[in-house]
Every structure is written in structure tokens, then in C-alpha cells.
């Protein structure tokens, strides 16, 4: 789980609108389920070079409706397994949004930052402050904050630890 206090930094991998879950992880690989296995095929059909060239900390930048399509949690798992530190987009498809929060992949809604970023730009993300800095341009972007309830899940480290804690309280 990414520490909330962590400042993330990495190169931008820029993609367009409606990046679907078949693009993130083609269904032919859904006979596997570990992040490590899935990562080897992440973005394979839209960007065959991605899995080989992505470095730990890199950031995926998408347009509108990022992660549309299937409910496969394999999609955020593949991205996480590839070492990507966060995804920034204009907007996220709702199941992908839930899945990313649940598995502890930081996602940020920020149309301006997503629009301005070019492939290969160095980006710095301060999760706590909700700030994205484009190191090339020097511009700083403020993201919309998460609703308090969702913030609780993020702070707990994902839905499973959140639920574990809640179930523990119920028994005490």
C-alpha cells in the first residue's frame, strides 16, 4: 500500500480517452490473477513496449472514462504490478475507480494536469496535499479531494483492511 504521505515521482505514460480494460489487460490473460503475471501484459494491445520499458514509480495519464468496460480487478492489479505509482485522468469509469481504491492503487481526477502532460514528462504527486506538479513546465495542479468515506478506505490501506478493522470492532 502506498503511504498517503508519500510523494510519488515518475515519467508520464500518456494515453487518450476511453482506455478500456481490454486495453489495460487483454481478457486472454484473465486465466491468471497475480499482479506480477498480469504486469507482463499490461497495456499490451495499445502500447506493446509499455511492460518492458515502464519503471517503478512511473505514472499513467489518461483522458476521460479511463478503465471503462469490464469489472476485472486484474486491470488495476496489472498497473500496480507494473510498478506504476498512480493514474491521473480526466475521469474514471466507476468500477475501475472502486477497484483502484480497493486494491490501493492511487488515482487522481485532474483534467488540467492530464491534458497538459506530454508523454515522458516528469510528474511529482503529493497525495496528501492532492497536488500534481509537472516538472517540465513547473505548473502545479490541485486535484479534487476524495469524499471523506472513501478517504477512510484509502487511509485504512484498502477495502479489505478497512473491513477487517470494522469486523474486529463489531466483535469486541
Amino acid at each position: 500500500m502506498t503511504e498517503l504521505r508519500a510523494v510519488l515521482a515518475g515519467r508520464a505514460w500518456k494515453y487518450g480517452d476511453n482506455i478500456d480494460t481490454d486495453a489495460i489487460i487483454p481478457a486472454r490473460y484473465l486465466n491468471m490473477s497475480t499482479p506480477e503475471e498480469l504486469a507482463q501484459h499490461c497495456m499490451e494491445d495499445v502500447d506493446p513496449g509499455f511492460a518492458g520499458a515502464v519503471r517503478t514509480g512511473d505514472i499513467i495519464v489518461g483522458g476521460v472514462n479511463f478503465g471503462c468496460g469490464s469489472s476485472r480487478e486484474h486491470a488495476p492489479l496489472a498497473i500496480k504490478g507494473a510498478g506504476v505509482s498512480c493514474v491521473i485522468a480526466d475521469s474514471f469509469a466507476r468500477i475501475f475507480y472502486r477497484n483502484a481504491i480497493n486494491v490501493g492503487l492511487p488515482i487522481l481526477v485532474c483534467p488540467a494536469a492530464a491534458h497538459d502532460a506530454a508523454n515522458g514528462d516528469m510528474l511529482t504527486v503529493d497525495l496528501q496535499a492532492g497536488q500534481i506538479t509537472n516538472n517540465r513546465s513547473g505548473l502545479v495542479y490541485q486535484t479534487a479531494p476524495f469524499p471523506p468515506f472513501i478517504m477512510k478506505i484509502i487511509e485504512a490501506g484498502g477495502l479489505v483492511p478497512y473491513t477487517r478493522a470494522k469486523l474486529g470492532q463489531g466483535r469486541a
Binding site: 476511453n18 478500456d20 481490454d22 486495453a23 487483454p26 481478457a27 486472454r28 484473465l30 486465466n31 491468471m32 490473477s33 494491445d45 495499445v46 476521460v64 472514462n65 471503462c68 468496460g69 469490464s70 469489472s71 476485472r72 480487478e73 486484474h74 492489479l77 475521469s91 469509469a93 466507476r94 468500477i95 472502486r98 477497484n99 480497493n102 486494491v103 469524499p147 468515506f149 472513501i150 484498502g158 477495502l159 479489505v160 473491513t163 477487517r164 469486523l167 474486529g168
Partner: protein, 428 residues
């Protein structure tokens, strides 16, 4: 008062111990915890859900009768890894004593199967680790797709959090043209609003054309609400719904209706009499066109089936066109009945004979080619017309293959013509 059907179903499921605003009804934007009536997963999403379930420190699912598992995506097992995933699910179902684990021989494509078995009913709140869980909205249920971790938590607790969606109402007037069905209405609608046109919202389908639409057509429309980004796609319960549910339901259910003065985010009126059979061009469902405007698109394959169009009514439409005709020499036509029951009914009606005599193949129920699994994968440069729900790049095979979405009439007519065709080109 002033609440939509979606809001009323959610309000009725807000779990009291977790607070929420259930008593006076919920409002769009509220984040609530709700009790679920059915929790669904399948052979590709259950393995991750079971792994996360183990981490929760809970031994047993909250209610074995409400946890449904279906081996349909890569089953009958397409390879060793798929076999391992199905085996994992089978073990879990045995250990947990799940009465609704559907294995090969009993299984079908989940979203055709669950309504058929009476496992999802009007007024239910259903979540499934499959994006097309929204299909059950055709029954006047609130049903939505989630990921495996959400499903793990719901299997353990019977509860899940959700944001109450705004509702967009689509009102269809006029009588449908010949060969136009639910698939054409929903492709047209997605073409109108785009693949993120209903993002985070519920879609509600109403109007005289909907009143006249069969349950199969309604399942098809609700099924594709997700392709407009929607959380759910709902229909009001009417005589057709209750007739469908009667004899299938084995428990009580509660029919709810939206208030006459319900507040909608938007109301979209559509003159359905103007809608021709539709085709969605690669690589997004929103690329919908009237079939007459598609031009000369030569095809290599035609797939008739899936959770969208794998029901008996769909097969009847296809068989009506293929009867006494031959699948074009250059086309592989693959027919996939949605469930064992659909298969058996089609067999008894003589539809299977029609397909085989026409030169089509008939497969056991499976999601198979829809998501590029198996049973009809495309090579580079190949094109398939398909009654499935997604035409994303690489969806049915090679990244350089193409999928054209249509209803069963256009898919069958195209199989005969060897190119995308209006059913009237074949039948006139």
C-alpha cells in the same frame, strides 16, 4: 416521495446499523451501506475474490443461499490455467456449501442463467463481479457490477457501500420497425449519449415502445447500460415482468415503482419508430449507425449469443433468417445458446437443426469469444459481426481484428450475405 425506482430500491436496502439516510429515502450523491440480496462471481473474478475473502479473517460467507458462482467465461475449461481457476471456485463452493454454484452441465452465461433460475427478482439489490450484472435491471431490480474485492467483502458481510446515482430517464415512443429489437434501441441510445454519457448514473428505460418490448429485449437493453458508463439500467415492473418471474421465484419479492414526480437528472425522448437496425463500428459501442449506412463491410465471422443476445427469442430471430438459407462460404457462423435450458428449448423447437443445416456451428453455453477467450478468436485483419456487447480493440482476438456489434437479425443476415447486411436484403 419524488424518488426514482433506483433510489427507492437502494433506500429499502440501507443497512440500519450503519446509519445512512434510509428512513426518508436516499438522495443522489449519498454514500450508503446497503444489504445485498445476491452476490455473484464467475470463474475469472471469483479467484481474486476468494483470495481477498481469506484475508478478511472470516470463515463462512454471510448467507450461502445468496452467494452465486457461475463457471461461464472460460468454461468448459479452455486451458490448464482456466481449469485451475474453475477448480478453485468448485472447492470454495463445496467448502462453503453454496447451493448456487453452477458448473459445466448446469451452467449457462450468468446473466441469462440467474433470471431464468429465479435467483434475481424485482426489487432486489444485486452486485456481481462482472460488469454486465446490470442486466437484472430488466426485472425492476437494482443490479450493478463491481470488482472482486467488493464481492469478497459482500460475501463476508452481506453489505457493500455505494453512491446513490442520479437517474437519466429514456422515453421511447412509436412502434418499432421490422427487425428492430432491444439491441438496436440500446445501440442507438449509446450512439446518442456516448460511452461515458451515463457515467456514474442509472439509466431508466420507459415509454410505449418499452411497454411493448419482450423481456428478452429488456434484458438486452439493461445489459448494455454499462456501455454508456452507467451503474445500472432499470425498467419498471409490469405484467410481462411478473409473468416472467411467476413460476421461477422461490422466495418473496417486493415490487417497487418510481414516484410519478420523481426527480431525474435528465429526460431523453426518443422516437423509436425512426430507428433502423443498428450496427456499432469498431472500436467503441458508441459508433452506432443504421445498417443501411454501414457500406460494404465483408465479414469473416458472425457470433450469435452472449449475455446480451443469447436468449431463446434471439435464437428464434436468427433461425428465422437462416432457415432454408446457407451461411456464406467465407463466413464462420457461431451460435451460442445462453444456457442449457435455452439450448434444450432451441433443440426442441428445431432451431438447432436450422442452424446446423445452414452451415452454422452451435456451441455449448459460454462467454467464449465475446471477450476473446476461445471458441471463435479472430486473426489479424479479420472482421466479425457479433451480437455481443463490446467492440473494443482486440476484444475478440488479435489487436488488428474488428468487431461490429448488432442484433441477431443483422448478424444472421450478414452471415448469409458474407457482408454486413440489412435483414430485408436476405428475406425480401
Amino acid at each position: 416521495m419524488r424518488h426514482t425506482l433506483a433510489e427507492k430500491i437502494i433506500a429499502g436496502h440501507v443497512s440500519r446499523e450503519d446509519g445512512g439516510t434510509g428512513v426518508g429515502g436516499v438522495n443522489p450523491g449519498d454514500l450508503v451501506e446497503v444489504a445485498v440480496d445476491v452476490v455473484l462471481s464467475n470463474d475469472i473474478t471469483a479467484p481474486i475474490a476468494m483470495r481477498e475473502f481469506e484475508k478478511l479473517g472470516v470463515d463462512l460467507v454471510f448467507d450461502p443461499g445468496k452467494v452465486v458462482m457461475v463457471a461461464d467465461h472460460f468454461a468448459p475449461n479452455k486451458d490448464i490455467k482456466s481449469a485451475e481457476q474453475c477448480a478453485m471456485m468448485r472447492r470454495f463452493a463445496q467448502e462453503q456449501g453454496l447451493p448456487h454454484h453452477f458448473d459445466v452441465g448446469k451452467m449457462g452465461i450468468e446473466h441469462v442463467l440467474l433470471p431464468e433460475k429465479g435467483l434475481v427478482l424485482p426489487g432486489d439489490l444485486v452486485i456481481g463481479a462482472d460488469s454486465h450484472t446490470c442486466t437484472y435491471g430488466a426485472l425492476g431490480a437494482f443490479a450493478t457490477g463491481m470488482g472482486s474485492t467488493d464481492i469478497a467483502v459482500a460475501m463476508a458481510t452481506g453489505q457493500i457501500w455505494m453512491r446513490v446515482p442520479e437517474t437519466i430517464r429514456f422515453v421511447y415512443t412509436g412502434a418499432l420497425q421490422p427487425w428492430v429489437g432491444g439491441k438496436d434501441l440500446i445501440l442507438y441510445t449509446i450512439g446518442l449519449i456516448g460511452v461515458s454519457g451515463a457515467l456514474y448514473h442509472a439509466m431508466e428505460f420507459a415509454g410505449p415502445a418499452i411497454d411493448a418490448l419482450s423481456m428478452a429485449g429488456r434484458f438486452t437493453m439493461a445489459n448494455m447500460a454499462i456501455e454508456a458508463g452507467a451503474k445500472a439500467g432499470l425498467f419498471e415492473v409490469d405484467g410481462l415482468t411478473t409473468a416472467y418471474v411467476e413460476g421461477r421465484a422461490k422466495r418473496d419479492y417486493h415490487v417497487l415503482h418510481g414516484d410519478p414526480d420523481a426527480v431525474y437528472l435528465q429526460v431523453v425522448e426518443i422516437d423509436a419508430s425512426m430507428i433502423e437496425p443498428q450496427v456499432s463500428l469498431p472500436h467503441l459501442p458508441e459508433n452506432a449507425r443504421p445498417v443501411s449506412e454501414v457500406g460494404n463491410v465483408v465479414i469473416d465471422q458472425s457470433v450469435i449469443g452472449s449475455c446480451t443476445n443469447g436468449r431463446l427469442e434471439d435464437l428464434r430471430v436468427a433461425a428465422g433468417i437462416l432457415s432454408g438459407r446457407q451461411v456464406h462460404d467465407g463466413v464462420r457462423c457461431i451460435v451460442i445458446p445462453g444456457t442449457q435450458q435455452v439450448y434444450l428449448d432451441a433443440l426442441r423447437e428445431g432451431l438447432i437443426e436450422t442452424f446446423i443445416e445452414a452451415g452454422a456451428v452451435v456451441s455449448t453455453p459460454t462467454c467464449g469469444p465475446c471477450l476473446g477467450g476461445y471458441m471463435g478468436i479472430l486473426a489479424a485483419g479479420e472482421r466479425s459481426v457479433s451480437t455481443t456487447n463490446r467492440n473494443f480493440r482486440g476484444r475478440m482476438g488479435h489487436p488488428d481484428s474488428e468487431v461490429y456489434l448488432s442484433g441477431p437479425a443483422v448478424a444472421a443476415a450478414s452471415a448469409v450475405m458474407g457482408r454486413i447486411a440489412h435483414p430485408e436484403e436476405v428475406t425480401r
